[in-house]
């Protein structure tokens, strides 16, 4: 396989399926952490050239909080968790068990808490993936940025840019029903990681 653009429907379905398992694990962790029921959407797997990828994210200019972790080694990939800016404060309130609407501004402690959320989500996701592939994933510490979605995703995509003109974005949305708070979880595998995944799944 040379490029993401060559993936077929069966391969995409297989990727969605493992992502579903990974995200299910992550949703359980999130639910335990927040003490609330967390639902999750049917995963989406999109392949698009770089110049179109932003269309899947609700526009490059929308303001988001983005937590980013890199996995190096045998299976390099990027993990990105995006929360729309207007929902970040609610997220913080949930984490700290405060009445919704308490947080009006972000401080260092909030930043740490958001990073920890990303850490736990990515950890549970990767654990599930690991059980499947028998690979050990060692993610970096999370980094956090609050800015335009395009600027944040662009930096993540640069890692893939050296290998491909297309990005494969596997997306899971976590939803807190009561207040409709949603977070978007993205897995961005590099080409060689994708090959390994597909081989393990028996669809390559």
């Amino acid at each position: 396989m040379k490029d993401f653009s060559e993936l077929n429907a069966i391969q995409l379905d297989a990727l969605k399926e493992i992502s579903n398992i990974g995200a299910g694990n992550a949703a359980t962790s999130l639910s335990l952490m927040l003490g609330r029921k967390i639902d999750m959407s049917v995963p989406k797997a999109n392949i698009a050239p770089f110049n179109q990828i932003m269309n899947y994210l609700g526009g490059a200019e929308s303001e988001v909080a983005g937590g980013y972790m890199r996995v190096d080694g045998e299976s390099p990939m990027g993990i990105l968790f995006l929360i729309p800016k207007d929902q970040v404060y609610f997220f913080i309130d949930l984490i700290f068990g405060q009445p919704l609407g308490t947080t009006q501004d972000l401080n260092e402690m909030h930043f740490s808490a958001l990073k920890e959320i990303v850490n736990i989500l990515a950890g549970s996701y990767l654990n599930a993936l690991s059980a499947f592939t028998q690979q050990v994933y060692s993610p970096s510490v999370p980094a956090l940025a609050i800015d335009m979605a395009g600027a944040i995703l662009g930096e993540v995509l640069q890692q893939i840019g050296e290998f491909s003109d297309y990005a494969l974005v596997i997306e899971n949305v976590f939803i807190e029903q009561e207040r409709h708070i949603s977070g978007h979880f993205f897995l961005l595998p590099e080409p060689k990681t994708l090959e390994l995944l597909l081989r393990t799944l028996g669809v390559l």
Binding site: R70, M148, L153, G154, F163
Partner: protein, 162 residues
């Protein structure tokens, strides 16, 4: 006459004659290169993603890299009547959105993109009239082919025209 601005996506480039406006949204560590011929009023915008095509395994898309992107942008503009010797440049972007503790050189891609773009422009003997690069924030830029003005919008640092 109102015309919709022409959108330039990531790792993409476009050239256009006046009075069109070229826009690229959400530049992070990518660099937006704007070239303009003040006489024929032909403008061009490239959304550069990576510094060097020679380091890469996939160079199908020339607009992605500083070296091949700048060259291709000039070619596209010349096709629309621009004269290479008259071109002037304005550049923006090259930020570092994420700060990893102990980040290596490889991670400072914004800085490397900016350096690579400047080097290419110097080689092509194109003067940089304005530069707004670095920092840790995203930029959206709008380039007017009518007057060569570049509007730079950010979320946390306001707007400016260079």
């Amino acid at each position: 006459m109102t015309t919709e601005p022409i959108k330039v996506g990531m790792a993409d480039l476009r050239a256009a004659p006046a009075p069109l406006t070229l826009i690229t949204t959400g530049l992070g560590s990518c660099v937006g290169v704007c070239l303009w011929d003040p006489i024929t009023k032909v403008g061009g915008l490239a959304h550069i993603m990576l510094p060097d095509s020679t380091q890469s395994r996939s160079i199908q898309n020339k607009a992605k890299y500083a070296d091949t992107g700048v060259t291709l942008l000039i070619e596209e503009m010349v096709k629309l009547g621009a004269q290479k010797g008259r071109l002037v440049a304005k550049i923006a972007g090259g930020a570092q959105m994420f700060n990893f503790p102990g980040a290596s050189n490889v991670m400072r891609i914004g800085e490397r993109n900016t350096e690579a773009v400047k080097k290419c422009l110097e080689q092509e003997k194109i003067k940089i009239l304005a530069e707004d690069t670095g920092g840790n924030f995203g930029r959206t830029i709008e380039f007017s082919t009518t007057n060569g003005q570049l509007l730079i919008k950010t979320i946390s640092k306001g707007e400016k025209v260079v």
